[in-house]
């Protein structure tokens, strides 16, 4: 099982969700986050003082999928979230030790 964490632009959330559903992935967790990579922030003024806002709003999607589904999921995210500009985001993949269905104690890939 693989954990896929994708940080994307908030405006791309709907497109990414639809693409993942089409790829056959139904379970995901969406978080509102703030951050930046190489994308610069913007300046705001408050009472004559200029300050930089560099923590930009982002959306983070977390999925846990079977190993054979991982590449499909990644492709779905990449193709729907990409604009070609700095600020598109990043995807991180890691191994998951176990998954448990709370309702009936099912364990392993069948719990996904």
């Amino acid at each position: 099982m693989q954990k896929i964490e994708a940080v994307i632009q908030p405006s791309k959330l709907d497109a990414v969700k639809d693409a993942l559903l089409e790829a056959g992935i139904e379970g995901m967790t969406i978080l509102e986050a703030r951050g930046h990579g190489r994308q610069k922030g913007h300046t705001e003024f408050y009472r004559g003082r200029e300050y930089t806002v560099d923590l930009l709003p982002k959306i983070k999607i977390e999925l846990v999928v079977r190993d054979e589904m991982a590449e499909q999921a990644i492709q779905a995210i990449v193709s729907s979230a990409r604009t070609g500009k700095i600020g598109d985001g990043k995807i991180f993949v890691s191994k998951v030790d176990d998954a448990i269905r709370i309702r009936n104690d099912e364990r392993g890939p069948s719990a996904l």
Binding site: E44, Y46, R47, G48, R49, Y51
Partner: protein, 449 residues
């Protein structure tokens, strides 16, 4: 003192200007005007609305989320505490006969303040209407000061300090400008008649200058000025500012103490000056920063409201347009340039808008006051410099100077006193955690629930 009373009423005759009123003033009991009383009660309600929720929202939106309730509580506490103080002794100290500087205890517990008019102050409304109207001014003045020490003052210390301030600074200033025998009272024969229609000196200079003293005495917030603490909700501030604008019609036009042409003049002047002040501030900001902000526009509007306050019942409408525009630009300069030059942490710009706006407004009143609008010194007598009475500008300076002096000295002494008794500032840890939780045990917003 019947002879003295009749003489003073005679001086007021040019304001009323009709022989029907002459018959009224020599009668035993002046009669109540339904229109005047209705307008004054409405005005009192409008002025209270300026504090709650006007100022509460305006200030509340400007602070960080962790301090929003504490900031709003400051205004609300004034609505409650000053009311009790006023009823017991505040009104008497401000509007009781007394001497040139302070009233006496003649009206303590509102003795002699009933439903018959007090002809010296307002011949056509019950004395209690006048009292309750003035109470709303006494409430908002200390509430304005809270802008200077926002986000770092103990609630208990604020309550004690502002209660004492209302007695030591507000009541004497109100007495001098509006009370019987007051030194600066232009309509009741004060020795140095200062034109202050609705409280440019009494409310805005006193609160603004006291705010500056507080900001300097308490010191800067943790992280100021390196870490910017931007408003958590300009939306709330916007709503508050609009409530202030509408409520101010009660503040200024109500100061005519009657539903007459003078109230109309004050209403029109108030509106005109606010509009041009917002434009002035926005233009200055647009030029300086490249974009006109909503916060700047509403701050400009408030600056205009402040500046027109002393002038509202004295100037021509075109003068009001000019006064507003000047105030908008002047206060923008005070808040963005001067504050940064000196580095004081006047958190919500109480001094930059009220102290500075009140000062420039009181000064411009001396220039633009016109007897065509309000012949306060008598029919045919010049009022301001525009009429040829340049001496009035000196009188304005005297009033401004007394307001500054009383505020500086009074505030400093009271801050020191309260600091010694219970301490003024919250601990550094409490300040970082936020006043809502540490002073009031609650949170303003609970997005999770």
């Amino acid at each position: 003192m019947p002879f003295r009373r009749r003489t003073r009423l005679f001086l007021l005759l040019p304001l009323f200007g009709s022989s029907a009123v002459l018959a009224q003033t020599t009668a035993a009991t002046p009669s109540i005007s339904a229109g005047d009383n209705a307008w004054m009660l409405t005005s009192a309600a409008l002025v209270l609305m300026m504090t709650g929720p006007g100022l509460a929202l305006f200030y509340g939106g400007l602070v960080r989320r962790k301090n929003v309730l504490a900031t709003m509580m400051q205004s609300f506490a004034m609505m409650c505490i000053i009311t009790v103080l006023w009823a017991i002794v505040g009104y008497s100290l401000a509007f009781g006969p007394g001497n040139s500087f302070i009233g006496d205890f003649h009206y303590i517990f509102l003795h002699h303040v009933g439903l018959t008019p007090d002809p010296d102050y307002a011949a056509t409304i019950p004395a209690q209407t006048y009292m309750i109207y003035q109470l709303m001014f006494a409430i908002i003045t200390p509430a304005l000061i809270c802008g200077a020490f926002a986000e770092r003052m103990k609630f208990s210390a604020m309550c004690l300090f502002l209660t004492l301030w209302a007695i030591v600074v507000y009541s004497p200033m109100a007495h001098m400008v509006w009370g019987k025998g007051g030194l600066l009272n232009a309509s009741l024969g004060g020795k140095i008649p200062c034109l202050d229609f609705a409280g440019g000196t009494v409310v805005h200079i006193t609160s603004g200058v006291s705010a500056l003293v507080c900001a300097l005495y308490l010191g800067k917030r943790v992280g100021y000025p390196k870490e910017p603490s931007p408003p958590h909700s300009v939306v709330l501030s916007f709503i508050g500012a609009c409530l202030l604008w509408v409520g101010w019609f009660g503040f200024n036009a109500g100061s005519a103490v009657a539903a007459n042409g003078l109230a109309t003049s004050a209403f029109v002047n108030t509106h005109f000056a606010t509009a041009t002040a917002a434009i002035g501030w926005s233009l200055a900001e647009w030029i300086r920063n490249g974009k006109p902000s909503a916060l700047g526009a509403i701050s400009g509007a408030v600056a205009g409201l402040v500046a027109i306050t002393p002038a509202s019942g004295f100037v021509q409408p075109m003068s009001a347009l000019l006064i507003g525009f000047i105030a908008g630009i002047f206060c923008f300069f005070m808040v963005t340039q001067v504050k940064n030059w000196f580095g004081y942490d006047d958190s919500l710009d109480a001094f930059g808008v009220h102290g500075a706006g009140g000062t420039i407004g009181a000064l411009l009143t001396g220039f633009f006051a016109s007897s065509a609008i309000n012949p306060i010194f008598g029919a045919g007598k010049p009022t301001g410099a525009i009429d040829g009475n340049w001496h009035q500008v000196l009188n304005q300076l005297a009033g401004i100077g007394i307001a500054w002096g009383l505020s500086l000295v009074g505030t400093l002494i009271l801050l020191k006193l309260v600091d010694l008794i219970i301490g003024l500032r919250v601990t550094r840890e409490d300040e970082i955690e936020g006043l809502d939780v540490t002073q009031h045990g609650e949170e303003g917003y609970d997005f999770a629930s």
